[in-house]
Subunit: 309 residues, 2 copies
């Protein structure tokens, strides 16, 4: 039998990469033959974490069915966020911490989701349930995922369980959690050499909401002006991607990881739903969302509600 492929979502963030690596390691320890792969190149943040712990980025795949019949998904379940030929392979396992939507299987599967801040927190739990020891570098990449998804526990998605998991993993990985964590987050905010096209695609996901096709991208920064100094180019790039990919609405969420606020840039239709969802008035297509740092908890449900009623 060919190897089972394990992967996170398109435009992989640190959790998508780390959970694929760690869940694949765990399944191999349990006797399965799996390989962690990725649906895109790693971000600068993830590259920093991989290098810090002496690991290679997973191989990037475009399709799965040419290699295997069976896949394990981590950190996502929605078809449009997964590999392009997801309907041609069998999803035998999902470990995730997002809403469930647009997933259909013909057969029963292993599905493990919890409303915690990071998939790696759930993967740690499965390691423990199976009494498998976690190597130092795997622990390091897992704690990096938790730091990334929870913004060092400042996101409203962060739970006590995520923080405990990160501290436990930091002990195994032998790092100072707060010091390493802030260094890693800052490594991900380096926008200097990015084009507008790259900025709007770095961490972007698609969501069907009602009859609209919504694209939501997020960028973490230490100064939002780093991004909005290019507002004209960003708007042009967004208009082009909306046209090319039939997105009705594009919301770019630029999050300041130090003060935990975001500024959104919204282009498309219906703009009124954006204003209603966040109770703001857009000015030059922008609005400040105080205290908003989580796409999953503070952006997707609010927009979904505004667009489906």
């Amino acid at each position: 039998m060919s190897k089972i492929l394990v992967f996170g979502h398109k435009n992989p963030d640190t959790d998508a990469i780390a959970s694929a690596i760690s869940f694949s390691y765990l399944q191999n320890a349990l006797g399965k033959e799996t390989e962690a792969v990725a649906l895109g190149e790693v971000s600068e943040e993830t590259a920093y974490a991989l290098e810090y712990f002496g690991m290679e980025a997973p191989r990037v795949i475009e399709t799965a069915a040419n290699e295997t019949n069976t896949v394990y998904l981590v950190d996502h379940n929605e078809a449009q966020q997964s590999v392009s030929d997801i309907h041609d392979v069998e999803i035998a396992s999902v470990v995730d911490h997002h809403r469930i939507a647009n997933i259909d299987t013909a057969n029963p599967l292993y599905y493990r989701a919890e409303p915690v801040g990071c998939t790696a927190t759930i993967v740690l739990k499965i390691f423990k349930e199976n009494n498998i020891a976690i190597p130092k570098n795997i622990a390091g990449i897992m704690l990096s995922a938790i730091v990334s998804d929870t913004l060092l526990f400042k996101s409203p998605t962060s739970t006590q369980e995520d923080e405990s998991a990160a501290r436990e993993l930091a002990d195994i990985a032998e790092v100072e959690l707060e010091v390493y964590g802030l260094d890693m987050l800052k490594a991900g905010t380096n926008m200097g050499d990015k084009t507008a096209e790259e900025l709007i695609d770095m961490d972007a996901k698609s969501f069907p909401m009602g009859d609209k096709n919504v694209r939501i991208a997020q960028i973490n920064v230490v100064d939002v002006e780093d991004v909005f100094s290019k507002q004209a180019q960003l708007e042009k790039a967004i208009q082009q991607t909306n046209l090319a990919n039939h997105y009705d609405l594009f919301v770019l969420v630029v999050t300041n990881i130090l003060d935990s606020d975001s500024v959104i840039l919204a282009i498309g239709n219906p703009i009124a739903a954006v204003e209603e969802a966040f109770n703001v008035k857009l000015d030059s297509n922008k609005a400040v969302l105080k205290g908003v740092v989580s796409r999953k908890k503070q952006v997707v449900p609010q927009l979904t509600e505004a667009l489906t009623k």
Copy 2:
């Protein structure tokens, strides 16, 4: 806050009832306020098990949103098998052992599915992970669910984990597993006083397959002639329910629990897909399926494939 309602699928079988009762007990022990309810009256098999262990059948509900904002699903996830107003409440938790389809949530949730023979087997695992002791009567109803779903471990859906779980629960419940199990299964095969309309609806579930709406009912018997002596009435009842509910295809699976074969009766369109799925020729709308006892593993995937290619 109003109580969280916990329920299994429509036309509840013993697992739908037992997993609701036991998962609700577990969540209450963990500090939640929940109530196990049912989406229909219990079967004779379930009634036998409840009476044996001195328990009441859960209250039957028609809708959920009039009582609560939040529900926990057990033993199902597909909307068409759930409460009629499932889209008006939040699904906060699912424990299941079926395929995933037709489920969409706005928010992250707790989802626990494994490809084992019975939901109660997974519920037992969650009891243990949380170190909650299982009372004798709860253990009794849980082992009844495992016996029911696995036909005393003879179904191909049965796993080593289901059998171990049933034996562990039988120790707590203080019953002889094989003796009690066969008595309970036989209690569920009493067809004497059932009308054709009741027989085709006792354990029936709907499945969208491709662009067809397929209804699959299963009846366990010790003699298939008990059912097919009423074939003319059954066909008439099926034709009527197909018309009334827009089912394209109805497959009645009559399973002999002693010799582990089934006879199917198929009415609707396309019949050719039924013959292809099971590699049989229907004769008077009937065919023998040797060794077939599991709707989930030996009927649904085969029909899905024949209807979606």
